[in-house]
């Protein structure tokens, strides 16, 4: 069975600094997708970034980028120039290639941003 592990329950970063959130996963599949979702106190799940396993190039979305290490089954999220609005729960998620709907989530990392 696939699993997703986020080993950092909480993280803190100073405003304008950079922070990296860790995620590892376990799967025997070769075709899959990985995601980072943000859940602010409003509880709305917001897709931050996605990565297709077959793509070697790391995904980037503005201040958010990932370090995808397929052999190590690692998928970390880097947030650059952190802003107060980045404070939220961040969930790493895995989905098999045939359907991205069946997401398997990690336990989440609570990110605090200090002014």
């Amino acid at each position: 069975a696939q699993t997703v592990t986020q080993s950092q329950p909480e993280m803190s970063v100073q405003e304008a600094e950079t922070v990296t959130l860790s995620c590892t996963y376990d799967t025997s599949e070769s075709d899959y997708y990985l995601f980072w979702y943000k859940q602010p106190p409003s509880r709305q799940m917001i897709l931050v970034i996605r990565q297709e396993a077959y793509k070697q190039q790391n995904a980037t979305e503005n201040r958010f980028s990932v370090n995808f290490q397929k052999a190590a089954k690692s998928f970390s999220l880097k947030i650059s120039d952190s802003q107060l609005g980045d404070a939220a729960m961040y969930f790493c998620a895995y989905a098999p290639g045939e359907s991205q709907g069946n997401l398997i989530f990690g336990k989440g990392t609570k990110l605090s941003v200090k002014p």
């Binding site: 709305q44 799940m45 989905a95």
Partner: protein, 115 residues
């Protein structure tokens, strides 16, 4: 993208009663999903709902407890039956949009408290 609304946004219910949660999408989608997020926890997939077929339930979830309807391509309901305090959670629906790049979007969630 897809805009998803859920009703109700929150409710407080007595044990033994049932609550039906509605999920409305602003565009036609093939696959809709229902997740549960227990207090302080991550998201767990309850079931996948495709229009015109029976919902597919994940291990640990049964139709008698969580009946789902999917009458058309923009709407779905999840009923939480014979509720107990252990059912207190946030229930989220999500949709998978097809195209050149699959995306998955979440509704704002329904916060259920069972007393």
């Amino acid at each position: 993208s897809a805009v998803i609304s859920q009703k109700p946004s929150r409710d407080i219910c007595q044990r033994g009663t049932s609550l039906t949660i509605q999920c409305q999408v602003d565009s036609q989608v093939t696959m809709m999903f229902w997740y549960r997020q227990q207090p302080g926890q991550s998201l767990t997939l309850i079931a996948t709902a495709n229009q015109g077929s029976e919902a597919t339930y994940e291990s640990g979830f049964v139709i008698d407890k969580f009946p789902i309807s999917r009458p058309n391509l923009t709407f779905s309901t999840l009923t939480v039956s014979n509720m107990s305090p252990e059912d207190s959670s946030i229930y989220l629906c999500s949709v998978e949009t097809s195209g050149a790049s699959y995306e998955q979007y979440f509704g704002p969630g329904t916060r259920l408290t069972v007393t």
